[in-house]
């Protein structure tokens, strides 16, 4: 009996760790989509960039893991600002189709560039010694790295929530998500707000990419391969909130891991079916505001 409990706990925690990585990557996408209504299919490319930069810094420059991830986040934020000013900002008021296509184009460019620079294979990640190994509690054993992921994800979610609910900047974001025109009419510069939010979201994605490199392998196909999971988290969770992607990511991570553990043949079918059911029943997502969906 306790054997089953130990297994269940292990599966649950693995799913939770996976969910935390998905959350860190997807939360930026949820906020920016809720803020500007911009369908950004290239969001995974920022997570990919973060992963590549972090791994390269660790391998080539011998930078420690935490520092590498932070530097990668800064670099990605910079790249995202450049892209936002030159490409994204031109399509804010455009209909859905051009936004979808432009960001698909970006994914192609990013993947091809990644393959050109780093080659087609997945990047090896060397976890530092203090993260390797497992926590032992009697019969229960769990990798420390994944526990750290869960902790960082929870801390990150709390910090973001605090930032959104308790700061002026967060208040401006919430105002613009709820009603952009009204927010602009009280003097909130929504374009500048978006640039900063986009940068923060991309930096978070980079952190997720770098930290989650052991779970979501860093390869040129990263942006395409995992796009659907980020999109699921964002659409099932609902746009424009922190809570939405947080709970959706946990659900996705736990359900996917459990399904693959119980019925390995099913692959990802359970997740896609579940997504379909949820979105059909609640098109605005589990925790979305009904008005936020374009």
């Amino acid at each position: 009996m306790s054997e089953i409990l130990v297994q269940a706990l292990s599966v649950f925690l693995h799913g939770l760790a996976y969910g935390m990585v998905l959350f860190l990557i997807s939360v930026g996408l949820s906020i920016t989509m809720g803020l500007m209504g911009f369908v950004n299919l290239a969001h995974g490319a920022f997570a990919m960039l973060g992963g590549y930069v972090a791994v390269t810094l660790m391998l080539r420059a011998g930078v420690g893991y935490p520092a590498a991830v932070l530097l990668a986040a800064a670099a990605t934020a910079l790249v995202s600002v450049v892209l936002e000013r030159t490409l994204y900002s031109r399509l804010y008021d455009a209909p859905e189709l051009p936004q979808v296509l432009m960001t698909i184009g970006l994914v192609f460019v990013a993947s091809a560039a990644a393959r050109y620079v780093w080659g087609p294979l997945a990047q090896p990640l060397q976890l530092p010694s203090y993260l390797a190994g497992a926590l032992q509690l009697g019969a229960f054993s769990f990798p420390i790295y994944r526990l750290v992921l869960i902790a960082i994800g929870l801390a990150g979610a709390f910090a973001l929530w605090l930032g959104l609910e308790r700061t002026l900047f967060g208040a401006r974001i919430r105002a613009a998500v709820d009603n952009r025109r009204m927010a602009e009419s009280v003097g909130i510069d929504s374009h500048r707000l978006f640039t900063v939010t986009f940068a923060i979201g991309s930096a978070l994605a980079a952190v997720g990419g770098g930290l989650g490199a052991d779970l979501l392998a860093i390869s040129p196909a990263y942006a395409e391969e995992y796009l659907v999971y980020f999109m699921i988290v964002v659409s099932v969770g609902g746009l424009g909130t922190i809570r939405g992607p947080f709970f959706a990511a946990i659900l996705l991570g736990v359900i996917d891991t459990t399904a693959k553990y119980l019925v390995p043949q099913s692959g990802a079918i359970v997740i896609f079916l579940a997504t379909f059911v949820v979105l059909f029943w609640r098109p605005q997502g589990l925790l979305g505001r009904a008005g936020a969906v374009k």
Binding site: L101, I104, G105, V109, V228, M231, S235, F272, L273, T275
Partner: protein, 320 residues
């Protein structure tokens, strides 16, 4: 005025003249030509949804794929005439279109996008896992396609396949033009432009859009069936998000909502891909991405859009 009329007649017949000419002048490229025409049919089906009804779908390969697998399985396990294979492909597409459309078409925007994505991903996973049925990652093979109507055998130069594909494309094209120019087709445009207004006029919006979606799915299924029959192979990619994105790109390059864009886009894309991608797929992927970004930011409606701009300018020169 006469100049415009000649231009219209020329435009209407040009693709078919070109297709006929290619049969005579480019005998080495007939297999590629057949594949291009299949993609044209696929793009036409997508244009009905994206260009005319105004719905952005990222899962259209689901219909292409089920059509391909249906016709492929038929060819592998029976000796049925290829025309029956087409019917089976169309039926498979239509059934999936009707079933998924009944659910998915109640939503719009991002939710619609995600639901179409979910459908194609579920089907992709099923096709991937049901190796006994679909061959999984290796694809469906070992099919023998009997001669069409017992008379025309599929030869190894692709001549029969080319003419067969061209005739099917012509038939579907005529049906589609008839549909688009009908009151039904006009009402689709109305729904695209202002759905609320159409509802207030009493138009049965949901039924119209569902009908269009089902027709589109059937056409995509026919394209898939053609693909299976002419290549005697069904790749797993036939039912993937990747192909859905690719056909959307081909359509956008040619131009949306003008039906002719569906001819130009795949032709340009696949000829270019044939020329460049073999040498360096990374190079190809990169430049397609760049072209896509440029085309979208330029704001013209693909090649068709540019042609229309020129035509408009010429007309203004006539009547200052």
């Amino acid at each position: 005025m006469p100049r415009i009329r000649w231009a219209r007649v020329g435009l209407a017949t040009a693709p078919w003249l070109f297709i006929a000419a290619a049969y005579v002048l480019l005998p080495d490229y007939l297999p590629l030509g057949a594949q291009i025409m299949i993609m044209i049919l696929f793009a036409l089906s997508l244009d009905l949804i994206v260009g005319y009804a105004g719905l952005v779908s990222l899962g259209h390969a689901a219909f292409f794929g089920v059509g391909a697998y249906a016709a492929g399985l038929l060819a592998r396990h029976t000796a049925a005439d290829p025309l029956i294979g087409l019917a089976v492909g169309a039926l498979a597409g239509a059934v999936l279109g009707l079933a998924s459309g009944a659910l998915v078409l109640r939503t719009r925007g991002l939710t619609f996008l995600m639901l179409t994505l979910s459908v194609v991903f579920v089907l992709h996973e099923i096709a991937n896992r049901a190796v006994f049925l679909t061959g999984g990652d290796d694809g469906l093979q070992g099919m023998t396609v009997p001669p069409i109507l017992g008379l025309w055998r599929f030869d190894m130069f692709g001549r029969t396949a080319y003419v067969y594909t061209a005739l099917v494309l012509l038939a579907c094209w005529l049906a589609l033009v008839h549909l688009v120019d009908s009151p039904f087709g006009r009402s689709l445009v109305g729904i695209r432009e202002n759905e609320i207004r159409m509802r207030s006029l009493g138009a049965p919006v949901f039924r119209r859009v569902l009908a269009a979606y089902t027709v589109s799915a059937a056409l995509a299924g026919i394209a898939g069936a053609l693909s299976a029959q002419t290549t005697q192979f069904v790749a797993l990619k036939s039912i993937s998000f990747s192909l859905s994105a690719e056909i959307l790109i081909m359509l956008i390059l040619g131009g949306v909502g003008r039906l002719y864009g569906a001819f130009l886009g795949p032709a340009v894309y696949m000829v270019a891909q044939d020329a460049f991608a073999k040498g360096d797929p990374v190079f190809w992927s990169f430049w397609i991405g760049v072209v896509l970004i440029v085309v979208v930011l330029a704001g013209r409606n693909g090649v068709i859009g540019v042609i229309e701009d020129i035509a408009r300018r010429l007309r203004k020169a006539d009547h200052p």
